[in-house]
């Protein structure tokens, strides 16, 4: 059975491609922290290979190791041999899940609720989002926080409560028309993916993306009811659910209809571009999946490709911005210069480079929820580097990184603004009359 032994069924040459030269070690945040080979890319690959070779059973220690990996893919940038770690990592987590070694009633309940129920359907997600917003807006949250009731919760839950993101009052469909024409002459027709978590927490970034696209000669189609792209599932060992969602996406956005399909979330983009790999054994979808992969563009990538229409100079005071590279943009999609191009196009904004800009901030999807210690260590490191730049604004192109750094900035109590680069560009256009 394919799903029972994902690593054994994976093309062996993918496992074998690692020549264990060690050049991934200095780029791996977990190895950097522990100096233990098991916590390194080549160490993890050796464990995956041992399972594929039947030298190791998928054990609890193996599974835990696969969840200690951030999946930041920095190793893929460093790898001289071109190992496809992303594919290995997804299969290894699927192996961990298929083996059941991590099973506990609580874990299973959480996974069933989130992966199998919540993130499979937009309405459920929005309903939960609204409930959460009610909790936040009716003063309940601040009441609960002030009342000391939280002290009744176990430590971990209390920490999680503090990390709950602010839910937007209006979701993407309330902010963006199903079809928004280009301002001026239309050069392209694109589709905009509004995402799942992004839709609840950063619907404003979706609106900004749509506006920026129309300012740059794109007719924008934004269907109101959209699904999760499945990256959450693929990264958490549920490849079958990820396949199901991928097929629905392709059905909803026929790739032949658009010049490009735009995403503004790095983590999603990095997954969306590999549907053909995910659906390689689905002949009915494979050809369209290949076309789909070619049409998926990160918003920065797309703008750089079609040329950014520069916003007019304004006479406000100059601000400094620094740029944190989301792992799944710089490592997952090799997009590094385009977001900087976007930022440089904005008048009165000075870009200062962030030291270690490509080092993971610890968000890593839901990593900050399941590995809080490591995630916090990385967040602290990131905040320290941001501080050295003296920037008032930090820009980053992924909802996970935005949330993580916003939480860090809040904890520090400073005046740091954490924002998506596209929001800054949209702000600059807004000073223009429509």
């Amino acid at each position: 059975m394919l799903s029972d032994a994902p690593l054994k069924n994976l093309d062996y040459s993918v496992v074998q491609q690692c020549m264990h030269c060690g050049l991934c070690l200095p780029t791996c945040p977990t190895y950097d922290a522990t100096k233990n080979e098991r916590n390194s890319p080549r160490g993890r690959i050796s464990l995956m290979r041992a399972i594929a070779d039947d030298r190791l059973e998928p054990s609890r220690a193996f599974a835990e190791e696969m969840y200690f990996c951030l999946g930041c893919l920095a190793c893929m940038t460093a790898c001289p041999a071109g190992v496809n770690y992303a594919e290995l990592f997804e299969h290894a987590r699927a192996e961990a899940e298929a083996s059941g070694v991590l099973y506990s009633p609580k874990r299973s309940l959480i996974r069933d609720f989130t992966l199998r129920w919540l993130f499979m359907d937009l309405h459920r997600l929005q309903w939960v989002g609204r409930a959460l917003r009610l909790y936040q807006r009716l003063g309940l949250q601040s009441f609960v926080r002030r009342s000391g009731l939280l002290r009744l919760l176990p430590n971990r839950l209390r920490e999680l409560e503090a990390m709950t993101p602010a839910i937007q009052p209006r979701f993407s469909a309330d902010l963006i028309e199903p079809f928004t024409p280009a301002i001026g002459k239309a050069r392209f027709h694109v589709a905009l993916l509004t995402g799942c978590a992004q839709d609840l927490i950063f619907s404003d970034v979706n609106r900004d993306t749509s506006e920026v696209l129309t300012r740059n000669g794109c007719d924008v189609s934004t269907p109101p009811e959209q699904l999760c792209c499945g990256s959450l599932h693929a990264h958490n060992g549920e490849l079958e659910l990820a396949r199901r969602l991928a097929k629905k996406q392709i059905d909803q956005f026929p790739p032949e209809k658009f010049d490009a399909i735009i995403t503004n979330a790095a983590g999603c983009g990095s997954h969306l571009k590999h549907y053909s790999k995910l659906l390689q054994n689905e002949p009915a979808y494979l050809r369209r999946a290949e076309l789909w992969d070619a049409k998926i563009k990160d918003i920065h990538e797309w703008l750089a490709e079609i040329g950014i229409d520069p916003p007019p100079a304004s006479n406000g005071s100059e601000r400094t911005v620094t740029y944190h590279e989301a792992c799944h943009l710089c490592h997952g999609q090799k997009i590094t210069s385009q977001p900087r191009q976007v930022l440089r196009a904005i008048p009165n904004l000075k870009l200062v480079e962030l030291p270690e800009s490509t080092w993971c901030c610890g968000s890593a999807g839901i990593y900050n929820l399941i590995q809080p210690e490591m995630a916090n260590e990385l967040l602290e490191r990131k905040l320290k580097q941001i501080k050295t730049t003296g920037a008032d604004v930090v820009a980053t192109g992924n909802p996970g990184c935005l949330l993580q750094i916003i939480n860090g900035a809040k904890r520090q109590g400073g005046r740091l603004r954490v924002v998506h680069p596209i929001t800054l560009l949209a702000d600059a256009y807004r000073s223009l009359p429509r």
Partner: protein, 461 residues
């Protein structure tokens, strides 16, 4: 065959603390190899030392218990030097990672064994100084490993290799004794130069715990050039002529046709593809000398009939051209599941002959090969592109290497220029070294490690 008992791991835990002794299978598998292709052996346990004293305690105990110890830094070696042996304790030095002193008056740096080569190069550079050895794995390789393997790199021709930058060593002997050899004096002839004995000893004579390094002033200017040739012989002649003109470039590297094509496919540098050989040349030093040498080298390449000559206009272009050589191995590694990199070395006068021989061997055994390397110092990297699951082909690869090494010896060269003997080339050493050298090496080893505790089975039995 050694067996690691729970009594042994118990003692190691009491010496180092339980957190520094790994015994679970999931912890050991990631230590069952180093950077060497197609070699694998599970150790008995892995331990981390943080101080010289801890290393001493581990060795003292291991010596008494007669249990083997294999020292390991970052495990990037290419000859199996830190490959475990059955039931051994892997003694890992990566947590001994402090830079202890940078002495600008004496131009030295004192570091612990686990500091990486890159950290050393960066610290030197930050002080306006230069640490030249740059092995391919320098981003992660440890200085302890560099010294134990006497690593080379791209700058060997002008600047030498690791040995030329070691002024002193702290070594723990197999019986747990701590020994210091060398000092900050440029001149020191008191007794045998024991440090030279430990450099390149591949973990068989002692465990290196601290290294005192020599630093030099940073060259002020650099010029980078690339020339392509229709025949490998012309490139080799150009190199000989450059040396004969008494120019010592800091880099003089070559790529063969196969490597050029792989590099271009992978890195898209814009290299000319219609050639048999590509030379990457760099000269550094005083700006006036650099300008003069660069002109001379260009003239020589033209005289030898080069097809195309490109001089980097600025640093960005220089880095781009230099990356052609630095990505050579990576580019080749992408082409096949298993990549076996060798380092046969000949006197540079014999280089063209050796390259032709390598090509002929590959043809004869129907093998895919890319060759690149340090043309200035005769150090070749014939790289076989193969698949370790194909036993028949692996057998032919072995046979091809045997022939290449024999030819290297016949031409007055060596079986390894910078990777070491380890376990990969053990079989070739006796013939290369001869009886007298083998006997002296054996006696030396026995004198220092009478109980055969350190890296047994490596270099020779």
């Amino acid at each position: 065959m050694h067996e690691l008992t729970s009594e042994i791991t118990g003692r190691l835990q009491s010496i180092l603390g339980p957190a520094n002794v790994l015994t679970a299978k999931e912890d050991l598998i990631p230590y069952s190899f180093d950077g060497t292709a197609a070699m694998q052996q599970l150790p008995g346990c892995v331990v981390f030392a943080h101080t010289t004293e801890e290393v001493a305690s581990v060795l003292k105990f291991a010596n008494e218990a007669r249990t083997p110890v294999v020292t390991r830094g970052s495990g990037t070696g290419l000859s199996g030097g830190s490959l475990p042996i059955p039931g051994c304790t892997v003694l890992c030095t990566v947590k001994m990672g402090r830079i202890l002193d940078l002495d600008r008056a004496n131009l030295t740096m004192l570091v612990e064994a686990g500091v990486t080569t890159l950290q050393i190069a960066d610290a030197a550079s930050a002080a306006g100084l230069f640490y030249p050895p740059d092995p391919g794995s320098m981003k992660i390789s440890t200085i302890g490993g560099n010294v134990a393997e006497n690593s080379g790199g791209l700058r060997g021709l002008k600047y030498g290799i690791t040995r030329n930058y070691v002024m002193g060593l702290e070594v723990v002997l197999p019986n747990g004794e701590i020994l210091w050899t060398g000092n900050k004096c440029v001149k020191d002839v008191a007794g045998y130069s024991l440090k030279d004995l430990f450099i390149g000893s591949e973990g068989t004579l002692g465990v290196i715990t601290k290294v005192l390094l020599r630093l030099i002033p940073k060259p002020q200017a650099k010029r980078t050039m690339v020339a392509t040739f229709a025949h490998m012989d012309q490139a080799a002649e150009a190199v000989s002529a450059i040396i004969a003109a008494q120019i010592i470039p800091c880099t003089l590297e070559f790529l063969d046709r196969m490597t050029i094509h792989c590099v271009e496919d992978y890195a898209k540098i814009g290299l000319p593809l219609d050639c048999e050989a590509l030379l990457l040349m760099e000269t550094d030093g005083h700006p006036a000398a650099v300008a003069e040498e660069a002109t001379q080298m260009q003239n020589i390449c033209r005289e030898k009939g080069c097809l195309e000559l490109r001089v980097a206009k600025d640093e960005a272009e220089a880095n781009k051209l230099a990356s052609a050589r630095r990505t050579a191995f990576s580019a080749l590694a992408r082409v096949a599941p298993t990549t076996i990199l060798e380092d046969a070395t000949v006197p540079r006068s014999e280089l063209a002959k050796m390259i032709r021989f390598v090509e002929a061997v590959a043809r004869r055994h129907k093998l895919k090969i890319g060759t690149f390397g340090h043309m200035g110092d005769g150090n070749l990297h014939p790289t076989f592109l193969t698949d370790e699951r194909n036993q028949d082909e692996m057998h032919r690869v072995e046979q091809a290497f045997r022939e290449i090494f024999e030819e290297a010896i016949r031409l007055g060269g060596t079986i390894t220029g910078e990777h070491g003997i380890g376990i990969a080339k053990k079989g070739f050493l006796p013939k290369f070294a001869g009886d007298a050298q083998m006997r002296v090496m054996r006696e030396l080893r026995r004198a220092l490690d009478p109980n055969a505790v350190l890296n047994p089975g490596k270099i020779f039995d």
